[in-house]
Symmetry: C2
Subunit: 417 residues, 2 copies
């Protein structure tokens, strides 16, 4: 994998040029992209031109960054994973693209998304085993980083679309606090849930990239945050986890305990557990509204799985939606108290390793934290006997993206030692 | 003015056809539009075709509805009031357009907006006096309704862009509760503030239209909601109001007292007053991010007033923005308690009547309620000696759009009797 932080340091020190990094990427693309299919749109000629003009005296030092193809770009098509938008060319870049370029990053290309970031599997395959899903919906972002073709890649999460593919592909990723990064110019799935995330090789790489783009003090490399206190929840209300997910979680618990951290078990109060069940109500209602034009005018070009969710036979009553918003609000308030008792929560990233390509996997252990708006980080490191990656999820209180990244970096280091 | 509710009843009863309504509109456009300039885009041939196919057995009965030109439409250009988007044709309708059509409404045309719904005056003039501003930023929506060219028109408010032009043009309008209507496909100014609103001739017309499009029980015609309790605040922390604004407010107070309502004076607690000052921090920071692409690539085609706000010489520190978000959150919580003590708050809609066309007026008495997310209704009726309209503002607690409309209708009736 391409380690963004190491590359940036080499760029900063003049040991490599932006054009040199682009050639590393181009080689990886030539070697892996025909099988992996992580890119929706790519213009290597434009990237080479941009690299020639790149400035290394910037936070991102001229590093190329990929964007999920539900994020608008003015110079590359944006198709939202749907034939309805075949060849569609937005007028403007989404602000996250401009912010990345303002920080000295280059537009590497567009990463494959599932249809409107929903559940229908995409063409992308898991770099660790071509018969397995890379996860969804940020399939191309996770697989592109895992295959060494992208140093950094933005994705989005409405259910579990950042943490799940990161776990399946064995890369680090953060789903940021709700609204930490602007979702303007990003195709809406559900406006109370949609959140940007960033993928990289390691937690330090993700933290480096997020700090550069957000202008916030979020780097965790070379810093000592002390020893965090961890809480563990197996979230029984979210369903069962497979032995490989339990194996990854137990490996992480043992590693941080060995490193000297305190680990306590916690149960979520009923107000938070209740929110798990209303995520679907929020997503299905808002998704149906957000895609109103596509549903009204192009239903024939929507996948069956999307139609079954956003065009239900019996529409969701507006009173049920309003009640769900109330449950979500109560849960967010309750979360403030729960998360004040420890530095970070440790739990599963996904119910198991990547399943086959008929599905993109299950967001059971992610959607609660998307709804709560809390930052969540996937820490890679564990592998199944068959060689498939399984991550663990590190979550901190709303707004404490720094704390989530620091705790995740602690877990990552502990797993390696 | 075209009264939406009366037209809908006539359409429903077969007394007029959708094509007949379109011809009424076409006549008004022929008579007034050359002077008023309320339309950014209009296709009367397409509207006549749509009228021929319209269904009157729908909530909107085939009534034409206009949309501010920061709301995307798939069949008419959308220019956001900026030369950067000259001739821009979005691929999709914003969901609010599809919801309106699903309710049986027709796309009447695009209403003029100021540049990105900000402060630079547009070409539109006040139908009551061509030397005066119609207000902004929903200039065309307010002027189009006032000039009898639009039965209903959607606008948006980030500061005071619905209530202020409604007051200046003498029409009714509601700024809805935050997120009651979807802002998907609406050009973002500030994501924590942007809110859709609806303009009509009277409060009953606005309530009828909003009920039809939102699918919520919001109509106030022919219903008895009892006698509301009003609170009055002159919001001294927002600055001074001119005698004509005080005249409009006192006329409303006298009218509702005469009708039997109880009116009490209230002071806002410090937590709410504090929010007035942070509105600008939220808008300026988020506006600069939301328009990042335009600022980075097309600064030469931005107005000086927009540049001065969103390209400040000294950028707003992210810590100041985060602090402002905290102040806003605290104020929203405090508002729940304050608004539980009465049915509706009465205050100024604007500091006075419409000023000249070098400005779009002042949002001093609106921006707090945009930030709080509470529904606000402009009630027309009062005129200055010079014949310029001045409205009063009726506000209810967050989510109680029904209560705001019922109280506003009560004020409107009281002013007429």
């Amino acid at each position: 994998m391409l380690r963004a932080l190491d590359l940036a340091e080499a760029l900063d020190g003049g040991d490599v040029t932006p054009s040199g990094v682009v050639e590393l990427i181009a080689e990886a693309i030539e070697a892996r992209e025909p099988e992996i299919r992580a890119f929706a749109h790519l213009d290597l000629a434009a990237l080479r031109l941009a690299a020639g003009r790149a400035r290394t005296d910037t936070p991102l030092c001229g590093l190329p960054v990929a964007f999920k193809d539900i994020i608008d770009t003015a110079t590359l098509p944006t198709e939202y994973g749907s034939p309805i938008y075949a060849g569609w060319q937005p007028r403007a870049d989404a602000p996250i693209v401009t912010l990345t370029e303002a920080a000295g990053g280059l537009l590497l290309g567009k990463a494959v998304t599932t249809e409107f970031a929903f559940l229908a599997p995409s063409v992308t395959v898991n770099p660790h085993h071509a018969e397995h899903t890379p996860g969804g919906s940020s399939s191309g972002s996770a697989a592109g980083v895992a295959a060494g073709m992208m140093p950094l890649a933005f994705g989005t999460q409405t259910g579990g679309s950042v943490i799940r593919p990161a776990s399946f592909c064995g890369v680090a990723a953060i789903k940021t606090s709700f609204r930490l990064l602007p979702t303007v110019g990003v195709k809406t799935g559900a406006w109370t849930l949609d959140t940007l995330g960033l993928f990289g090789a390691r937690v330090v790489d993700v933290a480096f990239g997020l700090a550069a783009v957000s202008g916030r003090d979020l780097r965790v490399d070379g810093r000592d945050f002390g020893t965090p206190t961890f809480a563990v929840s197996r979230m029984p209300f979210a369903g069962a986890a497979a032995p490989e997910a339990e194996g990854a979680l137990e490996a992480a618990i043992r590693a941080v305990e060995r490193a000297g951290a305190r680990v306590v078990d916690i149960d979520f109060p009923a107000e938070i557990v209740a929110a798990q069940a209303v995520h679907a109500t929020l997503y299905d209602y808002e998704g149906g509204v957000a895609l109103a034009w596509e549903i009204a005018h192009h239903a024939d070009r929507l996948s069956p799985v999307l139609k079954s969710k956003f065009m239900p036979a019996v529409p969701i009553p507006v009173a049920a939606y309003d009640a769900a918003r109330g449950v979500a609000k109560t849960a967010r308030r309750a979360a403030r108290g729960v998360f004040s008792g420890f530095d970070a929560l440790l739990t599963y990233s996904a119910p198991g390793a990547a399943p086959d390509r008929t599905t993109t996997g299950d967001a059971a252990f992610n959607k609660l934290f998307t709804l709560l708006g809390t930052p969540a980080v996937n820490v890679p490191g564990y592998r199944t006997a068959a060689g498939l990656p399984v991550g663990v999820q590190v979550i901190a209180r709303f707004g404490a993206d720094d704390r989530a990244l620091a705790a995740a970096a602690y877990v990552e280091r502990a797993l390696q030692s």
